[in-house]
Symmetry: D3
Subunit: 227 residues, 6 copies
């Protein structure tokens, strides 16, 4: 089984190695059971810092996107170096390069690729190129809610939904300003649909149970099915 794991950049924001350990443990459990893993890291606080500073200084959107991409690559290097021999040591800078590195058989860790493309879109392209059975979005909420749970306390968790339902939910919250893409943008969803990729949205702190979730032993988070 092939799994693409998208990790929100916010999990690299403090100077505590616990989150790195969670990632490694989860990756190791998958590898030891014979699965392959691709990892996409978001830009998190570092991205936001440089984008905010740049925007205040008057730098243009395409260049702000590039700052965010370089920040996400810093997170990717952190993960790749921490995984050591398990991972390819160079962070690819385009899907073509990703595909080339993926051919060697190791975990490949990547950040963003191109301005105008969220790391969620990167994750969907990586899922497509690797023929992934599952795209896992590890985030700071327990799954997909009918509203943004950070803004509305009455939001309800959906354990199973279609991409059409997801699109409706996300429609109002989307933006393409650098640094503000959330969860999944319309392009990411289109790619998920064109290649029929299953998506699991799960709380980062449950990553250690990923193998159990995948094998169907337990059911946590939200499963999004392409239509």
């Amino acid at each position: 089984m092939i799994v693409t794991l998208k990790i929100s950049g916010k999990f690299f924001d403090d100077e505590n190695p616990t989150n790195l350990e969670i990632i490694k443990k989860s990756v190791l459990s998958l590898l030891n059971s014979g699965h392959r893993v691709a990892i996409v890291t978001g830009g998190g606080g570092t991205a936001r810092k440089y984008i905010n500073l740049g925007r205040k200084a008057g730098i243009k959107e395409a260049h702000l996107d590039l700052l965010g991409i370089w920040a996400s690559r810093l997170n990717a290097y952190l993960v790749a170096f921490y995984l050591g021999d398990l991972a390819y040591s160079k962070v690819p800078e385009s899907l073509e390069e990703f595909i080339e590195k993926w051919g060697y058989g190791k975990v490949v860790v990547t950040g963003g690729f191109q301005p105008g493309q969220s790391t969620a879109t990167v994750a969907s392209l990586v899922s497509e190129a690797t023929n992934s059975d599952l795209l896992v979005l590890a985030t700071n909420v327990d799954g997909v809610y009918d509203k943004d749970p950070r803004k509305f306390s009455e939001a309800r968790l959906l354990s199973r939904l279609s991409t059409i339902e997801l699109k409706k939910i996300l429609e109002l919250t989307q933006s393409v300003n650098a640094g503000t893409y959330e969860l999944l943008d319309p392009l990411a969803i289109k790619i998920i649909e064109r290649s029929k990729i299953k998506v699991l949205v799960v709380n980062f702190k449950n990553l250690d149970k990923l193998l159990d979730i995948i094998t169907g032993n337990i059911s946590i988070g939200s499963l999004v099915l392409p239509v």
Copy 2:
């Protein structure tokens, strides 16, 4: 004034150099009046040939996109070599590389960048990165119609419209399968909106009047205004 010129790939499909001559004449007239020009070429028939062959053979979407991108780069090399000293001789393979090459002061010709991104999105990113005053879409119809003019003969040309109106018109005709993006996709429009880029849709055969259109002497095609 800075102009990004997006040329549909179909204008490289026959073995007649006339279309190349039209492009050169139009570029020269702009350069001679002190403007700067970036060019984005579509993949046209070559892209379609390789994508169709690949799809029949069972190659996956992300890789089909790559074949289409390489085809669009072939068209870009053709234009760059034909422009000779006026153009940068290497076709950039990402927005970062485009920005670097653009710094030298010549015309830069590019094809596609990344799977999941139409050459229309490339053109909008290039417009953004170059701070273009105008994005010109040179195509095989006279402008934006209220319906796809190739399919509906009663379609009416709109000489001026907003991106909101454009989105509504295009909504039904869009697809993200490799090789089937048309005119402008939602992501291209979002980028146009976030950076307030004006778009002119014009018939390829009127490219020789581009300088007159830009300076407001004549009014041809459709002007799309971002909101």
Copy 3:
């Protein structure tokens, strides 16, 4: 045993996946018997289209060669993507890069390298660098004839000949204009001679019997022996 397989670009000219299937079947039979395979693809109709268009437009020979090389790389990507995990996913752009990629153990697919070098010369350099036991030229005739069989119906097939004889036969038909190199040019033959590479010229449609030919079970095509 190591085999370099040079496939004429014309086998990628129509939108039918049969030729791709023939290549894959032939490669698989070799790999499954423990052999290694390098593939060199010609530029075919795509190369001719761009070279003709470019030449009419007045583009110079070295740049026409480059257009042809990019076209041959498009064919190489098609083959590499179709072979999937069997092949290295990036098409090398020089012999140095080829050698590097070859080190990973997969099939490596390449198009042209440099202006002034036919893909036949590329194939002979690849044979040399990989220490190939055999260079197979898959073409649209049944082998080497004493005259060009497309022009002279009385041409006689030679089942075994030396490079000296081959040179005499080819002498009159050679040209170095971009896109017109035929079968084997003098430089390709010199490289074959300096490294004592055996060459098999065989009809493309017999590629499925390659394993049998190599193991000496059947004898088809022409064997060219270096002197």
Copy 4:
């Protein structure tokens, strides 16, 4: 006159664009007077964050250096994008690449190059390669003190000193752990000495007076003379 400007990474640490404006103003005043400028940025807080996190997680020194280098490049991109057309848009990743980019005539902004090399050493190599008349170290103290002024309040500012004196002062405070290089390390000083480069250590907030300092109108900071 050619000036290499080394800016401590800590000046990119808060989300206020003032420091960027100081840099741009200072660079513009030099360019407008006909001078050329190279810029080297330190890694600052971003480097320290990733190095600390990585070290706690057990990542090795050479790889921690790489994280710090990528962080310093993020600062370099921020400066390069903010300078816009004045600067080369790509941050070089080695001295060879720096030299190549420097040839185009623009400001070139660089971060770190190699593990084991502080950005101060990078700045001395850049001074050497560009044949700089002056290496300016813009830092958070008013110049070189006879002791580290952050630790000893009785430290005295030296307005003029030799590299021999500097070496003695710095001897005790040096370390080669990733992220802890200070002001100038022994290798940076050796390079300064072998190519006889003059060094000016100056408070960052006085950068706007750089042109006056250079032309000898005013005298601020410490001048270090190679022996």
Copy 5:
């Protein structure tokens, strides 16, 4: 006027800077008169040393060619660094890269490109790509003789000859073993013919008179005319 200057590698073989000075003086005189110059350097003694050592050790021909190419690039770097600001500081590794660098307007210095290609062929490709009016071969004899003048003392200098005559003269002396290409090989001549490039063979020690030769003031060496 555009001039490609091919300098035999043997002029970099001793530790005396005189030959570098001759090259610089000759280049400067051409540049100051408004001409453009491309330089191709041979591998000389360094190439021969590594090729001989490698061949004795059993390294294969294609790899020996690569050693010779790296040696010729060392000579190219020496010339480029010595020319300083007049020359592009990076030695291109392929014709594509050469063309890209040539676009910046400086002297570009290159060594070899690809195994199986002599630096004489490189020089003819460079002449073609730059649209050179003249290819100058600076060598250790006074021009083309009717026999190899190093072997036959009765050899007669030819002040004017066609490429057909040249081919006949060189026919017997050619070889494609790495490191043994002489003056002009058949492929170099074919390229010269297909693009109608004039060739001047001249003694290296007369390079200082190059401007006079080009402007027709004096007549030295042999002029080879393509047919």
Copy 6:
């Protein structure tokens, strides 16, 4: 066990393949016992030739370093090509590239990386990045002496010493002029100390006994212990 082997460039100076054979034999014995090997080659006579010629011609130190680095890479290619399939065929040009190549599992051969960095520093960085158990310096003397043995005949060999003692011994003999770094420079020693790398200085002609030395069967040369 992981071993980094630094070979002085002077062992590639004559046209005799014996030294290559010694290296291969020693590498093979290590690989066959399950160890991994990284190799760093010095620049030797080729470096000195180009650096001397360049310095006489007035080329600057940073550029002379680059010439020396290219020469050391020529030696690295020679070793890599001679080792054939055992080694990675491309010589890395930075530590980042080295780390990437090292991930494939083969021997990686490298020359210099950056101006201002001796190949001894490269070797210490490579030891650090590969987590080497031992850094072996193969040189033309029998180990570390209390004085430079080439200059003082009364010099005494030290079979065991600390990096502090080594620093004292080497202090007077060090220089940072291109081409004159000796044995170990201060930066190399600092890296050895920060990552606690054991160093063995051994006569090149004893390389064939390396496996025995490593396994503690025999004791030759000097062991330097980091403090």
